[in-house]
């Protein structure tokens, strides 16, 4: 439903903006299911370091990805004040650990710019575009499919 809402106006889309290590990021609102406070996770053995573990979301097991660690800002030490953005990506539900959710913003497609050729930083491969605002603020749009841990093949 949210997805159709965001496509109602041509050339505009809504994004959820959040903060991560003092920088502003956002993802498409159509992908977001809910936002909840941090709750302790269960550690997964042999998981990449940016996978915080799994939480129970009304009966389903949801992986929580530490976005800060994933983007190369270093691992988050989560506290009560951190948030988990529950997002849906190709039938998979995933939690994104962020510092705080700041706003829901309507973005003109014309304001989305490609990522400039800056020095090789780890974060670049996870960002699809930069959104500029008149007040000088910049939102970095996250590519969810790049951020998520790769689904493993079932071995047995």
């Amino acid at each position: 439903m949210l997805q159709s809402m965001s496509h109602n106006t041509v050339g505009k889309s809504d994004v959820v903006a959040f903060k991560l290590a003092e920088q502003d990021f956002c993802i498409d609102i159509g992908l977001v299911r809910e936002i909840r406070g941090w709750s302790p996770t269960t550690t997964l053995p042999h998981a990449p370091d940016y996978v915080k573990g799994v939480i129970n979301l009304r009966g389903s097991v949801v992986t929580v990805v530490d976005l800060s660690a994933r983007l190369g800002f270093g691992a988050t030490t989560p506290s009560q004040r951190h948030v988990v953005i529950i997002a849906m990506h190709e039938e998979r539900v995933v939690g994104l650990l962020a510092d705080l959710v700041s706003d829901i913003v309507t973005v003109n497609d014309g304001n989305i710019q490609p990522v400039p050729d800056i020095a090789l930083t780890h974060a670049r491969e996870f960002i699809t575009g930069m959104i500029t605002f008149d007040d000088g603020q910049i939102l970095r749009k996250i590519d969810l499919s790049q951020v998520l841990p790769i689904a493993r093949e079932e071995t047995a």
Binding site: L44, P45, V61, V93, A151
Partner: protein, 698 residues
């Protein structure tokens, strides 16, 4: 197009049920003195498949079903006798029909040779059973109740043509039938005058869309027989009132009491009455619709598993919230209040009841699997040239739906194995004083919270010296090792063991009982084997009631709670230094009653701890893995033993080595369920298992 596919899918689903009823009915007919009703039910099943198939243009299916139906009709009208020879053909026809349905469903090519052979057989029977081509038409005569003697057909010849009164009721429209299409079909038979009678249509104020009141009168000038008209209406006969009278007869007059004509009905118009069972007719011998359409199946609805799972999730959540509430109440110091306590108790009980009810929704009788086995036995018996009788006991035992599906393969394999290897051939049996016909019993029962399924044969039992010889030949055991009979029996489950020297078409296909064992283990069950020389062999499978719940041991590991499936656990112990032995740098062994068991540090295995823990502080859990090899898992402590609800990890994350799934504990936290087999396989301290550590690559 997609909608059409959906409808077709529904038809195939229905076919499944009908075929089941068919096979079931035929088995009842194997017994002498079977109920006449059964034949009707069997006939109906084939007829419905034919009807549906015709609607979808599945011609192979229609042709075969038609021929099959014709023979069944001869049976029904007592013109054929259900002797074993005929019944064997009937069973094979039923199998073939099932194959054709499967082929149509998968749009693949059916086995034409088999079908042609059966068609020839059916034709031969038809030629024996009836001496004129009238039999082709007889089904409809009977359908309209003629044989019950209540609407006898007048045998008089008259002017060619019929007067048809057609009064559809609401169901006709609801089931998507269109009167116009019927009239078009009628018009093809001859010249049709169609008049609509709108006298019964109420004024708009009283009109209800559920109560169609249009009626039609059709005068059809034709030379065809009444049954051809009945055939046009055959799919709507239960949802309309239909009067067909020859033009010469009084249109609405009472049927004439006359004798059933034995002459060919092909050119004689008949009076027939087709109408839904009315109260006035309840004493008739005509089978009522529910009885005819499939026997004992009650009213059911189709619900997608996803919905049931969602319900299940919400109930799990309810239980957790209830525990939280209890906690809050206690903190608030209100737990002494009897009213509060009683209320909490009631909620808890209710949540448990709901959970059980939802589980019951997922449960289905094992009948669904067992019925398939009759065919497997029949085919296996044919292939080996043995005579086999399959007896099923306790097929109403219910287990989880997912489990039912996953039981089909292992059971098929075990049954084939029993026919092929378990039973001796007829001559040997007679020489040993047993009846030539071998007997395989497939039984199921609930036993102390588990389902026990047994496949037993009355064959020669396991030839242990031979088994041993083969195992030694293939290097599965060291020659000269001391093995007790039970251990020799267990060799059958070893990968790479196949006791037939030549590869038989049936069960010697490289996959052996080890696969069966693996499949059962995956379902959380165990396989046991019991054999007596000369008396036969029994395989017993013990399964949990459901795949959704697992009986687990809650363990503590580096501050995390984890669950170990109880079916793998053999014993638990506090490590006594005198039982521990070091091997090399970090290899450690537990000596337990003469056995040396490798110790696996679970925390190290899962990467939760870097340096190996001291064994002295922990608890050792001895587990038995796939090939009867034992390992001891080192954990920090054992907390509890309880049933846990299984949640998929793969759905939202992926496979985690050594972990089979997850569960939610009472405090709402997730605990991982350990896959002991995989832990043992991947553990580095375990060099003698040839299975590649597949998961280590993940």
């Amino acid at each position: 197009m997609a909608e059409m596919d959906e409808i077709q899918e529904m038809f195939f689903d229905e076919c499944g049920e009908l075929l089941e009823g068919l096979a079931n009915g035929l088995r009842q007919m194997d017994q002498p003195g079977y109920d006449k009703e059964t034949v009707h039910a069997v006939f109906r099943a084939v007829h419905s498949i034919k009807g549906g198939a015709a609607a979808f243009g599945l011609n192979d299916l229609v042709t075969f079903a038609h021929r099959f139906e014709t023979v069944l009709d001869l049976l029904r009208s007592d013109r054929l006798e259900a002797d074993p020879a005929l019944m064997s053909i009937m069973h094979r026809s039923s199998d073939c029909l099932a194959d054709l349905v499967t082929a149509a469903r998968q749009s693949s090519e059916p086995d034409h040779a088999k079908r042609e052979a059966l068609l020839t057989e059916l034709d031969r029977i038809m030629a024996d059973g009836g001496d004129d081509d009238a039999i082709e038409f007889t089904p409809m005569v009977i359908d309209i109740g003629a044989l019950d003697g209540e609407d006898p057909l007048p045998g008089l010849a008259g002017e060619a043509g019929f007067n048809i009164h057609f009064i559809p009721d609401g169901d006709l429209y609801r089931s998507g039938n269109e009167p116009a299409a019927l009239f078009l079909a009628l018009a093809k038979l001859g010249e049709a005058e169609i008049r609509v009678d709108s006298d019964f249509v109420p004024p708009l104020s009283d009109w209800s869309e559920d109560q169609p009141q249009l009626r039609w009168t059709i005068i059809l000038h034709t030379n065809c027989a009444a049954d051809e008209i009945a055939e046009i209406f055959e799919f709507v006969e239960d949802c309309c009132e239909l009067h067909v009278t020859p033009l010469t007869a009084e249109p609405d007059g009472p049927p004439k009491p006359d004798e059933i004509s034995d002459s060919s009905p092909g050119d004689i118009p008949e009076t027939a009455q087709i109408n839904p069972p009315e109260p006035a007719q309840t004493d008739s011998a005509r089978p009522s619709r529910p009885a005819a359409s499939g026997g004992d199946s009650g009213a059911t609805i189709r619900v997608s598993l996803a919905r049931v799972d969602r319900l299940m999730n919400m109930i799990g959540e309810l239980v957790i919230k209830e525990a939280m509430l209890a906690q809050v109440i206690q903190t608030a110091g209100m737990s002494e209040d009897p009213d509060v306590l009683a209320g909490l108790d009631a909620i808890g009980q209710l949540a448990g009841d709901i959970q059980e009810s939802v589980m019951a929704i997922r449960a289905q009788p094992l009948k669904l699997v067992f019925q398939r086995m009759h065919r497997i036995v029949r085919e296996a018996a044919d292939a080996t040239g043995k005579q086999v009788n399959l007896v099923t006991v306790g097929e109403e035992t219910e287990v989880d739906k997912t489990m039912i599906e996953r039981l089909i393969d292992p059971l098929t394999h075990m049954i084939r194995n029993s026919v092929d290897h378990g039973l001796e051939d007829g001559e040997t049996r007679q020489a040993r004083g047993k009846p030539a016909e071998g007997r395989i019993t497939l039984s199921a029962a609930h036993r102390s919270g588990r389902v026990q399924i047994e496949v037993s044969d009355d064959g020669g039992g396991i030839n242990r010296p031979k088994v041993r010889e083969i195992a030694e030949e293939r290097g599965l055991v060291a020659s000269g090792a001391s093995l007790n009979p039970a251990e020799i029996d267990q060799l059958l489950f070893m990968p790479g063991f196949s006791s037939k020297t030549e590869v038989s078409a049936l069960s010697g296909r490289g996959v052996g009982l080890d696969v069966v064992r693996r499949e059962i283990m995956d379902l959380g069950g165990r396989v046991m084997i019991h054999s007596e020389i000369g008396q036969g062999t029994t395989f017993s499978i013990a399964l949990p009631l459901t795949l959704a719940v697992l009986e687990g041991m809650l363990i503590q590991l580096c501050g995390e709670t984890m669950v170990l499936p109880i079916n793998a656990v053999q014993e638990t112990m506090r490590a006594n230094p005198s039982m521990l032995h070091g091997v090399g740098q970090d290899g450690r062994l537990l000596s337990n009653r003469g056995d040396l068991i490798p110790i696996i540090d679970l925390a190290g295995e899962f990467g939760l701890r870097d340096c190996p823990a001291t064994i002295e502080g922990g608890v050792l859990i001895v587990i038995e893995a796939d090939n009867q090899k034992r390992s001891a898992l080192l954990v920090d402590g054992i907390i509890d033993q309880r049933q846990v609800v299984i949640k998929s990890l793969e759905e939202n994350y992926g496979h985690v080595p050594g972990v089979s799934a997850a569960t939610i504990l009472g405090d709402g936290k997730i605990a991982l369920i350990i896959d002991p087999e995989e832990v043992v396989r991947t553990s580095s301290g375990d060099h003698d298992r040839a299975v590649p550590a597949a998961a280590a690559q993940g």
